[in-house]
């Protein structure tokens, strides 16, 4: 396909868009903190997997005629382990089955090992116009703790290569690691700002059930910063990146103005998205109804089903109006921009007041956690920092 020049999204600022997510479930090793659908396999038959992804795209294209794709995202697992030809074939097939927004954003998650970084040119050639690097930390001890395969030196090399091949790139950092102090984290953020282009994702380390960290943490092998310090680290992150011109547009995502990840905005703005590949989720609106799709999770199961049935959909479930409202608010309040009233009307046929407990809203606005005006419902900085509690109080 012709290479798409990376430009900032030009569609209406708050349009949710229509996104396609492609899941590549394989990793060279499993990181101890990760609870994503990732698997380690000795060998992957790229041809079979390529064919299956294309087949599943065809299946969903038939269900979503007339839509214009605003973003594609290759996630995983480790999609930088895909052959560029596989990536290219997927992008081409999407272009054949749907129309593409001229400003389409095509992102790929990449690990910063030297092997993968040297494929960047190939991904660029296949049509990818943005990479998101799993840097996670900028010192070797932390990377070792996090079970990463790369060194800090390799990370710097990968960022350099990404900058050479892509106009837009982002990288992830994980903070609130054991032993981290406000001072050391600020220094790491400063270093990251020196390396960043226009986007950074900064996640607090959380212990997820079923991960290796869950076992180690329960056993007392390491201690995480307490709630107080975690709160201070979060506040430091917000203030420091904001002062550097990269405020958070979402709880853990920071960008220069106009450089937000268009794909992820679709999730948070509760737009429609197709999910293909093992364990991928989707949200599709058809005849005014919202459907949640979920693909078979185990890679081999998914592959066999696609080859037998033309798709690996495990479940298509109606999202009832109450759940739909809850999902939209839960996702939308993660964004600094909040949720425009128009979205409540378009998506739910309701005003925000119809969903919200007025007494709770009174307490939350008075407390400075939420604002509701003629234009939109939004969580303040303080509100987003405590969003779980805000949502539990706000939603009836």
């Amino acid at each position: 396909m012709t290479q798409t020049k990376a430009v900032a999204p030009t569609a209406p600022a708050s349009a949710p868009g229509f996104a396609i997510y492609v899941h590549w479930p394989f990793c060279l090793s499993k990181c101890p903190y990760c609870d994503f659908n990732s698997h380690v396999r000795d060998r992957v038959e790229q041809d079979r997997w390529r064919a299956a992804l294309l087949t599943e795209l065809d299946h969903y294209a038939a269900q979503t005629p007339g839509r214009t794709v605003t973003s594609i995202f290759f996630g995983g697992g480790t999609p930088s382990l895909m052959e560029p030809a596989t990536v290219g074939a997927v992008i081409d097939r999407i272009g054949q089955r749907w129309s593409l927004d001229p400003a389409i954003e095509i992102s790929l998650e990449a690990n910063p090992t030297s092997v993968e970084a040297h494929k960047f040119q190939g991904f660029r050639g296949a049509g990818v116009n943005r990479v998101s690097l799993g840097i996670q930390a900028l010192d070797d001890a932390a990377l070792k703790f996090l079970g990463r395969q790369h060194s800090a030196g390799e990370a710097l090399g990968a960022i350099e290569l990404a900058a050479r091949h892509f106009d837009r790139y982002s990288f992830d950092l994980i903070y609130a690691r054991p032993g981290q102090t406000l001072k050391s984290w600020q220094a790491e953020l400063d270093q990251a700002l020196g390396l960043a282009a226009d986007h950074l994702s900064v996640y607090q380390l959380t212990i997820e059930q079923g991960t290796q960290f869950a076992t180690l943490h329960a056993r007392g092998d390491f201690i995480l910063p307490d709630d107080e310090l975690a709160g201070e680290l979060y506040e430091l992150t917000q203030a420091h990146l904001s002062a550097a011109g990269m405020p958070s547009y979402e709880i853990s995502n920071h960008a220069r103005p106009g450089q937000a990840s268009r794909h992820n905005l679709t999730y948070w703005r509760y737009g429609d998205y197709v999910g293909v590949g093992p364990g991928a989720h989707g949200r599709l609106t058809q005849d005014g109804r919202k459907w949640a799709t979920r693909q078979a999770k185990a890679p081999e199961t998914w592959l066999a089903r696609v080859e037998a049935d033309g798709h690996g959909t495990q479940e298509t479930e109606r999202v009832d109006p109450a759940a739909r409202a809850e999902e939209m608010v839960m996702m939308g309040l993660r964004l600094a921009e909040g949720i425009p009233r128009r979205r409540f009307r378009d998506e739910l046929g309701l005003e925000p007041e119809d969903l919200i407990d007025p007494v709770a809203l009174g307490h939350l606005t008075e407390g400075g956690f939420v604002t509701l005006d003629a234009d939109r419902l939004a969580a303040t900085d303080a509100g987003r920092q405590r969003l779980n509690a805000v949502l539990a109080a706000l939603l009836k």
Binding site: L205, T206, A230, E232, G275, H281, R334, L364, R386, N388
Partner: protein, 600 residues
């Protein structure tokens, strides 16, 4: 009908764990009341809760047939009585049905406070008392020392005490011989009008209410029309018999005999322990002396943990009352805990038993509020109200004075713990009445406000004496006290379930303890939470739960939505168990844990 001279009626007086039930088992076995295959431990304690706690709640009776060394056959009626102070009145009626008692004392542990109280009651009932030293087979047994102690402390001649091991069966025959030889035969006139003591009653799912009786005069027969002389209720006797402990129908009970009757009675509440049963056609002139209606002394709120269980709790209380009429219950509403009942019981143990039976037999999960005693509130207009719920306290300006119940407590303790026990009693406003020594043990008699005892006295007593102190009490008198309602406020709103009546001198200490405890139990929320203890409008203790600093999922993308929504739904579901106080919601579990603070 047995000849009066060949009947012996006896009860067993013992401290908990000194072997009363095991001795009863052996006596039954020795006399062949049950085949070996029918025996199980503590056969007389039929309720699970009795067997597990090693206590007797309901009186039970067994008729034993014993061929004595004199070649004659005797009928021995064993009355197994409840041993706890809460059931003091029931105990007194059981004792009134007998002529003598076995005093069972652990040969290494010696006399305990409960033993004392019960043996004095038996002496008051005019009993002949046979001391029995149990667990004589244990290496720690010191029979001579314990005999001296019985003589010193109780003032009872223990020189011919029977030394036994109920566990191995050693000398059980000597106990039986002592009963025959030393206890008096009952007296009674078979020709006189019927006079029978209502000893106890319980509900049987098949037979309805069963009444345990001791016939004094006259003959009780099936088909007879009877009248309860105090309640004036009339019934027709259906079944008449005795227990071996299996029920045996005889159709008749004669003077001196102990047995049971059924009379088509539906609820235990229709039978009053201590009442006198007479014949309708030919009534006795006077009832037996000593009847007292049962009066609850300790009250608390019982609330279902799950508000949906209220109806079930209501039905369960009604069913339990069929079986135990000695507790009172009325509906109560709490802003913090929802709908429930105010329950009045004979004492703290009784309260625990009621709660445990409701939870166990009716599968309920309950919250109990702090127990309260019955206060006499004298109003300026001359009226007196009985107050057993702090929320009912009238406006202080209308109150002239408040009186609270005091108890006379007996505490037996090894002297090394005496100092800490004295300090505890003083801290609880106790007034020493007596302090005497028997060997290395001190016997303390104190007057104490019951209010201080129901708070956590018993637990503290056990903990400061490492379990060596024993304690018993009886209600003594009412006395004016400087009593105030202490409210707990959460964000300036009172939590009704945590309100208590305290003596002004105790308010600071209790208030500080409670708010500190609540502070640790209430999770941080969006808003800071003020927890205060207040007397009227005056705050005496305050703690603050700081607002939460951060509570957000770091990562939430497309794939996560369904899972995260389910987490949110779960959180919302959890809110149903929260109570709203202004801007904050307090989990019910925090109140629950605060109410349990006396367990520590």
């Amino acid at each position: 009908m047995t000849d009066l001279s060949h009947i012996r009626n006896f009860s067993i007086v013992a401290h908990i764990d000194h072997g009363k039930s095991t001795l009863a088992d052996r006596l039954i076995q020795h006399c062949g009341g049950l085949e070996a295959r029918e025996m199980r431990e503590q056969v007389l304690d039929s309720m699970d809760i009795e067997r597990e706690r090693g206590i007797t709640i309901k009186a039970q009776t067994v008729r034993l047939t014993y061929k004595a060394n004199d070649g004659q056959t005797y009928t021995l009626n064993l009355m197994d009585t409840p041993g706890h102070v809460d059931f003091a009145y029931e105990v007194s009626r059981s004792l009134a049905a007998c002529e003598g008692s076995l005093l069972v004392v652990d040969a290494s542990q010696g006399v305990e406070a409960q033993t004392l109280a019960n043996v004095y009651q038996a002496m008051d009932a005019g009993h002949e008392i046979v001391p029995v030293l149990n667990k004589i087979d244990l290496p720690a047994a010191e029979p001579e020392r314990i005999k001296r102690q019985i003589e010193d402390v109780i003032g009872l001649d223990a020189s011919d005490a029977v030394e036994i091991s109920a566990k191995t069966g050693l000398n059980i025959d000597k106990v039986l011989e002592a009963l025959v030889a030393r206890l008096p035969a009952p007296k009674g006139d078979a020709e006189a009008p019927l006079k029978a003591l209502l000893v106890d009653s319980w509900y049987d799912a098949y037979l309805g209410v069963m009444i345990l009786v001791r016939v004094r005069d006259g003959v009780l027969k099936s088909g007879m029309k009877i009248r309860m002389m105090n309640s004036n209720a009339m019934h027709t006797v259906e079944r008449v018999g005795f227990f071996t402990p299996k029920a045996v129908l005889t159709g008749v009970l004669s003077p001196g005999e102990i047995g049971f009757i059924t009379a088509g009675i539906k609820a235990v509440a229709d039978t009053n322990v201590g009442d006198t049963i007479t014949e309708e056609r030919r009534p006795a002139a006077e009832p037996l002396p000593g009847f007292k209606p049962s009066v609850p002394v300790v009250f608390c709120g019982l609330f279902p943990v799950d508000a949906n269980d209220y109806e079930h709790l209501r039905d369960s209380i009604a069913k339990l009352r069929l079986n135990d009429a000695s507790f009172a219950a009325e509906a109560e509403t709490s802003a913090a805990l929802g709908f429930g009942f105010r329950v009045g019981c004979l004492g703290l143990l009784h309260l625990e038993i009621i709660q445990e039976r409701l939870e166990r037999e009716f599968n309920l999960d309950l919250i109990t509020t702090a127990p309260s005693v019955v206060y006499h509130v004298y109003l300026n207009n001359g009226e007196m109200m009985q107050l057993h719920n702090p929320v009912d306290m009238p406006d202080p300006v209308k109150v002239e004075r408040i009186e609270e119940p005091w108890i006379k407590a007996t505490i037996l303790v090894p002297d090394e713990y005496l100092g800490t026990i004295l300090a505890l009693c003083t801290e609880r406003r106790g007034i020493q009445v007596d302090l005497t020594y028997a060997g290395n043990r001190a016997m303390l008699v104190y007057k104490l406000p019951l209010n201080e005892v129901v708070f956590d006295f018993y637990d503290r007593l056990k903990s400061v004496s490492r379990g060596y102190a024993s304690f018993d009490y009886q209600i003594d008198h009412y006395e004016e006290g400087d009593l105030v309602v202490m409210n707990i406020l959460v964000n300036h709103e009172p939590v009704d379930a945590l309100g208590t009546i305290v003596h002004r001198s105790q308010a600071d200490y209790r208030g500080r303890a409670l708010v500190a405890r609540l502070k640790d139990l209430i999770p941080p929320q969006l808003f800071q939470i003020a927890i205060q203890a207040a007397l009227g409008g005056r705050v005496i203790a305050r703690e603050t739960v700081r607002a939460m600093r951060k509570d957000v999922l770091a990562k939430c993308y497309g794939g996560d939505i369904s899972r995260k929504r389910k987490l949110l739904d779960k959180q919302k579901e959890g809110k149903k168990r929260m109570r709203q106080f202004g801007k904050v919601e307090i989990p019910q579990s925090a109140f629950l844990a605060a109410l349990k603070m006396h367990d520590d």
